[in-house]
Symmetry: C2
């Protein structure tokens, strides 16, 4: 999991793509340690303790292992593990020694995808039918929730000092509390039950900080904790990663309306799906604040239709573009991420990990898929 050396002037988006690709196999082998592709009695005892009565591995596999690995095997960028290990290394820690810990943010992240897809009634995820379409709503919700808890085995079985473990539990707990709130806000707004027509940019960014920022923050704080950093450094790394998460989210929202190509499973499954869902993204909020009364009313009208009509969705996208909201959102993402980097940067020791983090920051706001 070492950082590949590269010429400083070539620290470009492509480096990070390559880095993520190179690391993904090793990350997957860590994930498999905590959620096997198939349970046997031994792996059930390891995860759940000795059976009081008797285990049923077929049920465990059908309801847990199979749907979880069906999703994990579809890929995903695995950027949270990379962020965690880079931060650990750039703070003087040993990321290889602690590599098991990447399972926490990565499994939780995939769990949220599985559960959010049920909540949004989505069709496709990474180019294939969503877990609930393939396995049923009950299995998807439960397996998604299992992914929130199974990685806690990493902490349960760790032999690190108690103070580190307490720190890890605290980071996990607070971030899981926050993510529930972030998702709740997002739902309330795109369902139109909490005055989303007048939603301010700061309230939106707070939701992002909770929803997308949370798991990045969890990853970064764990990385800093494992490098034995003090509380203020851990907090600073959390803030930095939260900003990167917000940048990712804004870029995701931009790509949702604009992506026309991309690497197979990274390409968005339906251009403008966010319009169908009525999502109040930064793009929408900015447009609503700048648009003429007629354009504003029309955009709101389309968002509330929850339509799949191509012409209507394209009309909404055109309105968003008319008020330069895509440029605005990109600029905002850049501003948030650059400021956060400027604050975090002095704490990180010089070296390839820090340089890679810098490239990572550029990647977060510049990626095209």
């Amino acid at each position: 999991l070492g950082v590949p050396l590269h010429n400083k002037n070539e620290v470009l988006i492509v480096d990070i793509e390559k880095l993520l690709e190179e690391r993904s196999k090793e990350i997957d082998s860590v994930l498999e340690k905590w959620v096997p592709k198939s349970y046997d009695n031994l792996s059930m005892e390891t995860a759940f303790g000795k059976a009081r009565y008797a285990y049923s591995t077929p049920a465990a596999n059908k309801a847990i292992a199979e749907p979880i690995w069906d999703l994990l095997s579809r890929g995903g960028k695995r950027w949270r593990p990379a962020l965690m290990m880079l931060i650990c290394e750039a703070l003087g820690g040993d990321p290889v020694k602690h590599k098991d810990w990447v399972a926490i943010p990565e499994l939780v992240h995939n769990g949220t995808l599985m559960v959010d897809d049920v909540e949004d009634n989505s069709e496709l995820r990474r180019g294939q039918p969503c877990t609930h379409k393939k396995y049923g709503v009950d299995i998807a919700i439960n397996a998604g929730n299992a992914m929130y808890y199974l990685p806690l085995q990493v902490i349960l079985k760790s032999e690190l000092p108690e103070s580190t473990l307490i720190g890890a539990y605290e980071i996990y707990s607070q971030e899981m509390i926050n993510i529930s709130m972030g998702q709740g806000m997002d739902i309330a707004w795109h369902r139109g039950i909490a005055d989303s027509d007048n939603l301010g940019e700061n309230e939106y960014l707070q939701m992002c900080a909770f929803k997308t920022g949370t798991l990045a923050r969890m990853a970064a704080k764990l990385g800093a904790l494992l490098a034995n950093s003090d509380e203020s450094t851990i907090e600073k790394m959390g803030e930095f990663a939260e900003a990167v998460g917000i940048g990712f989210q804004i870029q995701d929202d931009v790509l949702n309306l604009t992506a026309t190509s991309g690497k197979n499973h990274f390409v968005k499954d339906y251009i403008g799906e966010d319009i169908h869902e009525g999502k109040r993204t930064l793009l929408v909020i900015h447009t609503l604040s700048k648009a003429s009364p007629e354009d504003r009313a029309r955009l709101l009208e389309i968002l509330k239709m929850h339509t799949w009509d191509r012409a209507l969705i394209d009309e909404a996208i055109a309105l968003i573009k008319k008020y330069d909201s895509i440029e605005y959102a990109k600029g905002k993402a850049k501003e948030i991420v650059s400021n956060a980097w400027a604050k975090a940067e002095p704490t990180l020791k010089e070296g390839t990990a820090k340089e890679t983090l810098k490239a990572f920051v550029d990647f977060a706001i510049g990626r095209q898929y």
Copy 2:
């Protein structure tokens, strides 16, 4: 939250009902401390930290506080908090000092109800439309999940020694891992995707130990931990409570097929709903193992129909009764709970808390609602 005195010979089911009723208001005021009925900026800061940008209390209330309290206000027995505090007291601890901790098993329990109702596509809960019917699937899943995490604030804000807090996090983590597995097994079986036709009693009881036993075990272990018990005592209390949970589950399954009356919100919402869902309860497993080939085939046939037809459901119930499965299940519940009590009892100090626990045990297996 003291235990009401009563004549030893009158330790009957009615005492426990009264005890639970008396305590429920105080328990609800504890729950409200960790999930307010309505968020304001101050309670949001307490729960989620200072806003990086700005909070939106309307969204928090619509998506989190309102649906959660809509369910909590419908009642429920609140027996896990009572069990936790009785065990704490019977082991020499001070349940009043630690009363905040009852929020953990009780909020998690209600969260599982909200989420399970989505998974089972249920209609009614405590006499009213399920949360997902009233607020939507997205809000129900997310608010249910929030109930898994919001009570972790109790540990985050506790000033007890680190070793106690680590113990609490470990109990929570392991039990949440287990409950995901228990629910997964249950789903795999009643969906008929994991050879449930030949399901053995021990595999079934293991699922119960995970699914219904888990939160009872969490409550009991936390109660013992808060009484500063050693690890083996904590474990023993967990085993005891798990057995009580299994007893409760079996009695629930019996009542699902037999209850004809009960106190308004306790009465089962639809007699035989488990048949509709195709659930492999101990009653069904026992019947399948004893029935003639014809009766076995017919029961399996009806279970797989997922029917609401009254005549078919009654036919299935009649088959279950024909093979004395209701008496068998009641006997099994009694055996499991009595054995567990015999093992736990010597560790508990004499007094009203212990006597009440004994009555509680009788209640678990004898209750009619």
